[in-house]
């Protein structure tokens, strides 16, 4: 993004004559990084099918169907299964996004050191972060599409607006993946990553309105849920899939999540630069 990095890319100055090649010089390098990530993914996708698709499906069965059978009165006029499915779409997006931007990014700096070879290529910091982000978002989109298809098969979707859970899942993923990647670029020991999962990711998943309404939380804890990006994603996804009005205004939700994306992008670029250049 910043001019200081472009010195590393001789192609950026020579190809920026027309708008087409300008776009290529901005997004081309990032798409090469995306391609590298996808190539690496070809070796590990099998085990990720379990964690990003099969386990969410089993969670739907265990909670939506199993626990749901004991929730006699439903939630807000909907069966527990239908109510929990959009929450699980958002929380799966969060899990996949954080899964791809935590340990793998840490490994790219410490164990495999892929980022050091990337910065030695004609790439800017923004290309590396952009390529990573594009990969994360593609992974999230793929698992959200699969999840939505299964939810439709369960008859858990009440509205055509449910399609909008896909862009919401992608926005939520960007909002959480960027700050986590920035953190992964900062720490030197993987123990700190465990702490992030234990004190941020797991509490968010459990208390941000995925499994039960945040209104039943004590007021102070409720505000922590409101601060978490996940709750905004859950509220939007739930409104879209049930065809109801969200608890907050839609622009409010989108604005808040965009704020996380913008701050996360800035943090990630800053931290990656600090680790790779200085």
């Amino acid at each position: 993004m910043s001019g200081t990095d472009t010195g590393a890319t001789p192609t950026a100055t020579t190809t920026s004559r027309s708008t087409g090649s300008l776009a290529r010089s901005w997004f081309g390098p990032a798409s090469s990084v995306l391609e590298a990530n996808l190539t690496a993914y070809r070796r590990t996708w099998r085990s990720s099918v379990f964690s990003s698709f099969l386990l969410p499906l089993l969670t739907v069965l265990s909670f939506g169907v199993g626990v749901g059978a004991y929730v006699d009165q439903g939630v807000g006029g909907f069966s527990y299964l239908d109510w929990i499915v959009p929450g699980l779409i958002a929380s799966t997006a969060l899990q996949v996004a954080i899964g791809e931007s935590s340990w793998p990014v840490l490994g790219g700096f410490t164990w495999q050191r892929t980022y050091y070879s990337q910065i030695a290529a004609p790439l800017r910091i923004a290309d590396i972060v952009g390529g990573l982000l594009a990969f994360v978002l593609l992974r999230v989109l793929a698992s959200a599409v699969a999840f939505l298809a299964v939810a439709a098969a369960f008859g858990a979707l009440h509205s055509g607006w449910a399609v909008l859970t896909l862009p919401v899942a992608v926005l939520l993923a960007a909002a959480v993946a960027l700050p986590v990647a920035a953190f992964a670029a900062t720490i030197r020991s993987d123990s700190y990553m465990v702490i992030v999962f234990r004190f941020a990711v797991i509490p968010m998943t459990l208390f941000a309105g995925v499994f039960f309404p945040v209104e039943s939380l004590p007021v102070t804890v409720r505000w922590l849920a409101y601060l978490s990006p996940l709750w905004h994603g859950v509220d939007l996804c739930r409104a879209a899939s049930l065809g109801t009005t969200p608890a907050w205004s839609v622009p409010g939700h989108l604005g808040y999540l965009s704020l996380w994306v913008a701050a996360g992008w800035w943090l990630a670029v800053t931290r990656f630069r600090k680790r790779l250049i200085h």
């Binding site: 379990f50 386990l55 265990s62 009165q73 702490i195 459990l206 208390f207």
Partner: protein, 270 residues
């Protein structure tokens, strides 16, 4: 007589001491960040208890136990299962990830086995360490259960050794499995299997509510037997079936440790 037995007794004493020194090494190697990771493991089962037990429990109300017909609050139903699951997770994380890393990457065991420590003693030492860690989690969780009125003090005192037994069973199992792992990707699969078992072991609803095929499959898993045992002690009535649970868990422990001791010996001593 004395000349026959005494060396063996001394041998057993020395084996315990050598297993103890494996534990001692782990304590000495603790770094600051890892301390926080270890201690904060206490909060995880509590978060589940408050979210699912209390939060979702508000939507459910009371639940009827299929065995005794007793009616209890949903939090009281879920809490013993979270205790069993946390004993499982604690034991597995120490005996799988950490064990594998020490064996394959840090090459720690090559060093340890160059000393008089034998493979079985190494396995016992690592397991003892995992149990020390797990017992802190279990004790804290039981304390919270008593404070929340989900169980009584005598029941909690009895549930504590049961939780330790659960830890031993999964610790032995995890160590044996680790010796068969090829790469970190295999651990992803194991984590997935662990989560799947966590979802369906009579943890969140009674196993009697599942379709019969799934139910019998679930009844065979070590986590189900653990939940069954701890739930009976903490909130229900203890009967003969709990002896089956205990026997099953002891058998898993012995089998796991035997396999692990042998495999470590074969992998590292040749």
């Amino acid at each position: 007589m004395v000349t026959l037995v005494l060396p063996q007794m001394l041998g057993a004493g020395a084996a315990v001491r050598r297993a103890g020194s494996v534990m001692e090494r782990n304590a000495a190697a603790l770094k600051s960040a890892y301390w926080v990771v270890m201690i904060s493991g206490v909060v995880e089962p509590l978060l589940y208890l408050f979210s699912i037990g209390v939060g979702v429990g508000r939507l459910i109300g009371d639940i009827t136990l299929p065995g005794s017909g007793a009616v209890i609050g949903y939090a009281a139903f879920v809490a013993p299962a979270m205790l069993a699951a946390s004993a499982m997770t604690g034991a597995l994380s120490e005996t799988t990830f950490n064990f594998f890393a020490k064996m394959k990457f840090v090459k720690l065991y090559d060093g340890i086995l160059a000393t008089p420590v034998r493979p079985t003693e190494l396995a016992f030492g690592e397991l003892g360490w995992a149990m020390a860690r797990g017992s802190i989690y279990s004790a804290t969780f039981l304390l919270v259960m008593v404070v929340m009125g989900l169980t009584t003090v005598p029941r909690a005192l009895l549930a504590f050794p049961a939780a330790i037994l659960v830890g031993f069973a999964f610790g032995g199992l995890g160590m044996a499995l680790s010796t068969y792992m090829r790469s970190w990707q295999d651990f992803d699969l194991m984590g997935s299997a662990q989560f799947a078992v966590f979802l369906f072991s009579g943890t969140f609803v009674p196993a009697e509510a599942y379709p019969s095929v799934l139910r019998w499959l679930v009844e065979l898993t070590p986590l189900y037997r653990s939940v069954h045992l701890i739930r009976a002690i903490a909130v229900d009535t203890v009967g003969w079936m709990q002896l089956v649970d205990v026997g099953y868990l002891v058998a898993v422990t012995v089998l796991g440790l035997t396999v692990a001791g042998r495999r470590v010996g074969r992998l590292l001593c040749n």
